[in-house]
């Protein structure tokens, strides 16, 4: 009897430990930072632009908090700016993953963060109510237009990054071949048979499902909201026929024989370059090195580089911090 009991206890303790471990594993599930291989350099952009950032002891008096929205590309950008500003001598810290653009927008307006990177297209559609087709396709025009609006509410945006990002309808290459799809318009007559997965907000957004319905006149078999970190999982699992992806996704270049995106021939998904949003007050307090450092450090951010940085975090599971550090180092901004 007694022996039985002890055995049982051991077995149960083991079971409990297993369950706990499972729970912990689940906790780390989506964004664990295993084996950051930060020593490995970001290849492909050895053409260092602008040279190393010079630390200015004057800047040590100024504290800056750099924010970001809550997905990997944003967190990488937030880290790049933070580390670059620190290299320039500022007391810079990051406050990443603020949430949606509404939250980030409020945070910079209230002064909770000094600034954060935003896509010019998102700013124009989400903050200033432009229809997707009204967003200028030229990066500088979009920036000027957004900056005009930002100035009205006491904010300012710096010049845009070289790379741009947009939403896109993505699918498996096999699905595209089966239905002979190349553009979003090709979905006409087929979309009723296909399920679409996107972020919870996608359903109502004009630059997402609402726009696909309104501007393309498409009806889908079903729409399912999912966390954006699952946007490739649902395609791979065969659950989603179509999934809303980002044009900067590393999977699109790394696995181009597997995933494809449809050409947005009626411009529902405006492309946006990243502009750094801040306040004139912070600009004044921080001095000329603030804008200079940010513009300098984003010069190397071409589409290929951004995709590679996204890959480090999303596929290789590096931390955004490590990916940002690797970028700054290999591009020669910091030694």
């Amino acid at each position: 009897m007694r022996i039985d009991h002890t055995k049982l206890r051991v077995a149960l303790a083991a079971l409990a430990a297993l369950a706990l471990a499972l729970g912990i594993a689940a906790c780390g599930g989506s964004d664990s930072s295993s084996e950051a291989t930060s020593a490995e350099s970001t290849g492909g952009e050895s053409e260092a632009s602008g040279g190393a950032i010079v630390a200015n002891p004057e800047n040590g008096k100024v504290s800056l908090t750099i924010g970001s929205k809550n997905f990997p590309e944003q967190e990488i950008l937030g880290e790049i700016y933070t580390q670059a500003l620190a290299a320039a001598g500022y007391k810079a810290k990051s406050d990443l993953s603020l949430g949606s653009e509404t939250v980030a927008h409020k945070a910079v307006k209230s002064g909770a963060v000094s600034g954060y990177p935003e896509y010019a297209s998102t700013a124009l559609t989400s903050f200033f109510g432009l229809e997707p087709e009204e967003v200028p396709t030229n990066a500088n025009e979009a920036w000027e237009k957004a900056n005009e609006e930002f100035e009205k509410e006491g904010l300012v945006a710096f010049e845009p990054t070289p790379f741009e990002s947009a939403n896109a309808v993505g699918l498996l290459k096999t699905t595209a071949e089966k239905y002979e799809l190349e553009t979003v318009s090709d979905l006409e007559g087929v979309s009723e048979k296909l399920s679409l997965y996107g972020s919870p907000e996608c359903r109502q957004r004009i630059d997402c499902l609402a726009g696909l319905e309104k501007l393309y006149g498409l009806k889908f078999k079903s729409f399912h909201p999912v966390d954006i970190s699952l946007r490739y999982t649902v395609l791979e699992k065969g659950q989603a026929d179509l999934s809303i992806l980002f044009t900067t996704d590393p999977q699109l270049s790394a696995e181009s024989d597997k995933f494809v995106i449809l050409e947005d021939d009626k411009h529902v998904f405006p492309a946006g370059n990243v502009i750094f949003v801040t306040t004139p007050k912070v600009v004044e307090k921080a001095g000329p090195d603030y804008e200079k450092t940010i513009l300098q450090v984003q010069e190397g951010l071409t589409l290929e580089v951004m995709q590679e940085l996204d890959a480090r975090v999303e596929i290789e599971k590096e931390t955004p911090k490590a990916a940002a550090a690797a970028y700054l180092e290999s591009a020669g901004y910091v030694e």
Partner: protein, 237 residues
Amino acid sequence: MSLTTPLFASFGGAIEFIFSPQASNVTGGKTVGGIDQVIELTFDQLEVTVLALLLAIVIALPAGLYFGHRGKGELLAIGLGNTGRAIPELGLIALMAAVIGVGLFNLTVALAILGIPPILVNTFVGVREVDRSTVEAARGMGMTQFEVIRKVEAPMAVTSIFTGIRTAAIGIVATATIAPLAGVATLGEFILGENVYGTNGVVAGAIVVALLALALEFSLAGLQRLLTSKGLKLRRT
């Protein structure tokens, strides 16, 4: 201080959001919210909640009754209860999404896992706490093991069993709010979609989820009264 004013402002806005559709910046002119959408999403949330709760009961109730009756597995019940609380639900859903995909089935299972520990533990404890002499008397009357559970132990443990079910229900209905991250639209759509629904939508979503949890709690309390045997009610009063 500065926080309270916008909070009250958005409370009023949230009530408005619940009853009449509002304009939104990002929808291309389409209005959002309003009573129709609120009711639709409330039913979606209720659906996944009820399914998960039933699944949890089907698994945990017989197990709790059995282990309680046999007087064994105390460590298992308590251990499960504690580890159950340690499992992060969002992580569990993400893990299951990677293994079996997203959707109603995944969510039902993930939420049921959240509901099992409190039902199991409370059923176990409830049955264990039934007066041993009553159980012996039942045996003496010639009842089979199954009859002892069904006619004596389970009825006398109803209060404790329902404590477990009510705890599970509240946990499940509240957590079903994150379902829109795993393929199923629920009231969480308002809370997760601030860009679309605005702060009013976020607060409105929270209010409706809270009301739904209260409604569920009261219905289960009513059900508990119905299922409590007359003899027990008399003894309590």
